[in-house]
Subunit: 132 residues, 2 copies
Amino acid sequence: MTDWFDEVAWNAEGLAPAIAQDAASGEVLMLAWMSRESLERTVETGEAVYWSRSRGRLWRKGETSGHVQTVVEIRLDCDADAALLRIESVGGVACHTGRRRCFFRRLDASSGARSWVATDPVLEQPGAFRDG
Amino acid sequence: MTDWFDEVAWNAEGLAPAIAQDAASGEVLMLAWMSRESLERTVETGEAVYWSRSRGRLWRKGETSGHVQTVVEIRLDCDADAALLRIESVGGVACHTGRRRCFFRRLDASSGARSWVATDPVLEQPGAFRDG
């Protein structure tokens, strides 16, 4: 019998991208990465645990900032190589920059000269840790 | 001067993950990959063009299925290594399995024995092409 986490098509580094979406508003908050162990811990604890590629270790979201993500639902895509987490966020700040979501820049193509423009306000002083 | 697409932190393969989200419903439809050229073409044409890793070529979404994605907004995350596309989908079928979205499986942990359960109906006969 295949374990449920063996059905995930982990990449060569043993990781899969995971999208965190606010369960209430539908807003896409961030894209992070999961390892087998982080997925298992997420399911066991009911709180999002990612794999930090920069730090090379498990990363319980909110471990330093307090902005824990409670997992409402975990979904897998057709290729089984990407996950979608519908979550409830403690404090409503998902980004380490102190913003509600990591996708705070929008491509502005209105003027011909294209650029990425920050559209979301900083709600909280960014912490010393990359975590957010 | 740095071009706007040089600000994207492309990975070692020259790609970045792109999340497609339905602009009206907020539903996360799929995760695909973009190259510099696919991002440029997306902006130029206003329709989502991805990089197909399995076929190793540009992939205009809907080129075989007709389910073109009109791009409402393109966002970039804090690390500049993931994009979010808010799109309007022609026909409302994003997945090559004929479903509305690729994330059609949900982790069922209710019984103790966990498994991925398909929750979304097939709306359309899957095409011969992987495209969807």
